[in-house]
Symmetry: C3
Subunit: 485 residues, 3 copies
């Protein structure tokens, strides 16, 4: 059959009612080409620290590292081995026996293309189409039939130096890119970038692994912390000192924020004595069942205190049950697509933390949820009252056209736009960054256009807010002023 042409509507994501669409186009035209400000994400700093780094094969770029793609293909019955993912050396799982790990990247690509129709109506489908068409110049629709030709096309492009990460970084007009780094990371890549003067790439302090008192690798984590901080962690006090040292090291390399991933945003202040007792038990390998949760609740408040003192913005991502499918995690490790959200309670859980620091002018906390029922019920009321609280953009599964619409619909009336944190792409897929910001800019302009045609905003207000949503609010949230990062 003749190749199906693949084009993107210039009006995609816009409501079809002509008066609204006209306003949306006008607003979008004003913000489409603004620089990208990326204060939270998971791009590897090595990709940018090493001038020789390349994006890899089409399978390595689009499929193998992207848990959005992997999960959909798994849901259709594909094994991760068929997509080239190696099992862990320790894997003894009977289910995997006999499925060889695919090493032919062209075959991986073909399997992906065979199932590309499954991404219809999903944000992943929209991002991929935008990347393939706009960034890589693909002109025919991806399908089982066209897979090979498109693979060839992509391979050729990826071999070109203009598709090297540093070249793309410039082409994307990225003004600032924050990575997410373990608290125990040596930050070697960031130091190299810094030494080279590439200060637009920033680390973010993520200490989650140091809170999991009952995890098998916690002693290792503590050992690593001691080593990297140059502080022997022998008790609760030295643990706090080491953490503060690491925050300072991150800050010295330009970190704007910390990031905390928790199952529940439960916060509770322990007495110094109790915190010390729990920590000592953990060091002895005698942590009790409830210790980890109580210690985490306490440490959230401690991290808020540290944020007041060092000015790092605190990001809190709550409500994901990681590695729901335990067999998958055992065989392939984390972040393969089997994380599932949980109902999340914010009002009571955050009360101790917010009573301690929510009105402190030095403090800022950005809340991210996977439980949309909390938008209008808990998050918007909290952000609409506490000076320290901002609501982060729609997170993960909700970073989508309709997810954004629900967010605008349910958050803004109570919180106001100025208590939100703009957009971040939260991605490890470097090449998808422009596509993700573009969807946000389109949907926010369409939402503003809806407000205008309903007489709820004046046009000049909408123009101002379009800029705020595109970049201003994010810079303000992370305390980077418009004058420069």
């Amino acid at each position: 059959m003749a190749p199906l042409p693949w084009t993107l509507s210039p009006d995609r994501c816009f409501d079809s009612e002509p008066s609204r669409r006209a306003v949306a186009r006008e607003l979008y035209g004003q913000v489409r080409d603004l620089p990208l400000f990326c204060p939270h994400g998971h791009v590897s700093p090595h990709l940018l620290a090493d001038p020789a780094a390349r994006l890899g094969s089409p399978a390595e770029l689009f499929i193998m590292p992207d848990h959005y793609v992997l999960r959909m293909l798994v849901s259709q019955g594909l094994a991760l081995e068929q997509l080239g993912l190696p099992t862990r050396p320790s894997d003894q799982h009977p289910h995997g026996a006999g499925v060889p790990v695919e090493t032919d990247h062209r075959r991986i690509w073909q399997r992906f293309a065979d199932h590309f129709h499954c991404f219809r109506g999903t944000p992943t489908g929209l991002w991929l189409q935008a990347e393939l068409v706009e960034l890589f110049g693909v002109t025919e629709r991806l399908s089982a039939e066209s897979a090979g030709r498109i693979y060839d096309h992509l391979e050729a492009r990826l071999a070109d130096p203009t598709f090297a990460p540093r070249a793309l970084f410039k082409r994307f007009r990225i003004e600032l890119l924050a990575t997410t780094d373990a608290a125990t990371d040596t930050l070697a890549a960031h130091r190299a970038l810094h030494a080279e003067g590439l200060t637009t790439v920033r680390p973010t302090f993520r200490p989650d692994a140091l809170l999991a008192l009952d995890a098998p690798d916690w002693p290792d984590q503590i050992a690593r912390l001691s080593a990297v901080a140059g502080v022997e962690v022998v008790d609760y006090h030295s643990y706090i000192v080491a953490l503060e040292q690491r925050r300072a090291a991150f800050k010295a390399l330009g970190a704007l924020a910390t990031d905390h991933g928790v199952v529940s945003p439960y916060s509770a202040r322990l007495s110094e004595r109790e915190a010390e007792a729990i920590f000592t038990r953990a060091l002895r390998g005698q942590a009790r069942a409830a210790d980890s949760a109580r210690f985490t609740a306490h440490m959230l408040i401690e991290y808020a205190r540290m944020s007041c003192e060092d000015g790092l913005v605190m990001q809190l991502h709550a409500g994901s049950l990681r590695n729901h499918h335990q067999a998958l995690a055992a065989r392939f490790g984390p972040d393969r697509g089997a994380d599932i959200p949980l109902r999340t309670e914010w009002t009571r859980n955050l009360r101790p933390l917010l009573n301690a620091y929510g009105a402190d002018p030095r403090f800022r906390i950005i809340l991210f949820t996977l439980d949309e029922s909390s938008y209008s019920r808990e998050l918007a009321p909290l952000a609409g009252y506490y000076p320290a609280v901002l609501i982060g953009p729609p997170w993960w599964f909700h970073d989508s056209v309709n997810g954004m619409r629900r967010y605008f619909d349910q958050v803004i009336e109570t919180a106001g736009i100025y208590n939100t944190a703009g957009f971040n792409d939260d991605t490890r897929a470097f090449a998808s960054i422009p596509a993700r910001h573009d969807v946000w800019r389109r949907v926010s302009c369409d939402w503003l256009a809806g407000q205008v045609v309903q007489g709820l905003l004046a046009e000049d207000e909408a123009v101002d807010l379009a800029h705020q949503l595109a970049i201003g609010l994010a810079k303000r949230a992370y305390r980077v002023e418009a004058g420069g990062a």
Copy 2:
């Protein structure tokens, strides 16, 4: 006053923006007349097994068996006796004293017509209007004033052999109709249908009553199971054998699926010894408070195992608190409109079951919820990862124009269309089946049209998906290939 004409807009359920409506019309035109595939519902098989069966009076057809109608009339202060519903012989309830059971069906119809305005804006109102106008040829609006004339009209139609259930079955172009049958049902009606070659009517295995260890009639249920299975149930082992025997008997008559109604989707594997102990206590009439819930949690995993082995698709309907109004249940029995949904947790509850069988290629489970907050938070992420999981269509109260829109809005971006199970009408109101499928087809075409005009789907993709949503996904979900049931 002059009779108000009653017509149906050919564009009902379509967005009014002209470009979107044009696409919706085009898509709907392609699927409107496709056959109806009905894999889950509550039509009595006797209605079709007996060639002489008739639909009864207008009151018997439209009011007395329909809990959607009854609940609305009750909410307006009508007593079920006034609607012809007999109280149970055991009824001694003081509230009912003095309200005679209405036997004049014309008066029942009049009471319904007096309150017909209460159904404005409800799916019941939409279905009833479509049935009355399109199927029965009513031409004036139902009201207190027109009630009598319309009753006469309906009575005449219902007396006509072209309105016999078997005639309507053909006229509706029903390709397959699954009923829901107790595990202890003798399946006499289905055997008769089968013997006659009417294999388009299928049973569905529903074993809920055999799980309620603490229900007064549980010993009777076990006795019935023993009798119908020809297996003396004397312990946990023979119980399992008897259930497996019944599944085989259902399957022999063409069953595609099992159905399980639970208050919570809690799953947990018990040891063989513990399952045996609980079952033995129950047989002795000594079931403890928590036994029934734990045993149900265990049996959900057992039913998943059986599904792997016999290939019956597992349907799980969770979150309805049955018989909320206990006085009503005591006087009139179940299914009279007083079931009220509950918040439903899926992520943690289903984890044991899905870790055991969620990636097993032999297994398929379809999840139905009454808690829409779980669509985007739990169900779509689960279906978008586990190969075995599909999300069922909007259930019960959410089988409505806006309920479907919320479903498309909240489910598809994360789960993808191919992890959903299409539509089923879930009705005991046989004559309403075409009206219900028609609403689904209209709303799904309107949703697809919205995707097209926003540049999120190509037109040819939307045409394909319109067919999938109308019938393809349902056949695939219940493992009936397009080539024939």
Copy 3:
């Protein structure tokens, strides 16, 4: 810069699709000027009882008493002292030290104007604009620059007798205004109004403070109850008698309803003996931890019983965690903007109450939620079955354009329009009453127009329902017939 003109779109809140907008305009034209029926709110009766009462300065009218305004300004880092709010005499809080209480109302107004852009997209912004433009004749947009001129303008208007509360009461065409009054209130203002023949202002019985057995001021509350009821409260029996006496006193002054604010709608019947025991412990100052919650659960059922007997409609507002920020409450008292909603369970919690009285034709209960996830899951099914239950309008944070749309979307299909309670403004901001009703009337007409253009309602049905939503349903809910209050 030149002043920006400030006008209101005559089509505000209407969808922009022309055919729908045309219907919305037509419907709105029919209800815009209907009288205002205000069965639930928090206007002080003294404002109307005293013919000399005035609305105060612009700061006193628009800022200082309005917790919607205060919370947004606090979220931007302003201290309540800067907005003129006095700290309590007992305040010893270190945070407040050094922030003087602003006494210059013009400066308060300036601070508010400096942050007025924060109200973009919020209902508060919409109400304020409508009040300023339509009621006070402001013609330039409120901003930091225009603040002073607008202050002068408002001051002049407020000095005019036509802006006295009684004059506005007439100008607003208020047909009935219910206030909310403590059960222990002497009702002096209401008696004065009554004596003057101003029977369109009605009290509402709110006994919450008498349920908080463990609150420090509970003994005082009981003493006040004894005094005002003329019944010495010495045990549970006399407590009930005193409450019944107060209900009778409220009813004699025209009360239509009672109002109950609870954290959770938990209901449970205690035995007389247990209720007596708890109450006795409380009188002795020995209330136990769980006593207050259990007693409240019991008393909800008792209040339902009393409603059956005296005909007062029972309003239940559940799910607000009051004074989330304890420091704020300690320094400034309640109702300053720091109340945060909680997840709310209705199905199980209300079951005992509804099983006792939900089908009693003498009983009516109106349910208000801050947890929108319960609309389609619990509230609509409950209201769509129990004769006594109505769903109140979108409450508090959800009294907004999108909040109303979600309400219509999620409630009506299951509950039907006739199981809702119309609108109430629930405000203490007297001058905002017309603006609030106007938003409801606009959004409900727009919603009806959407039903019409989608072929789901006939135009004459929509006209009828527009009247119902504007005023009819509220009068019916509170048992005031159309013929007059």
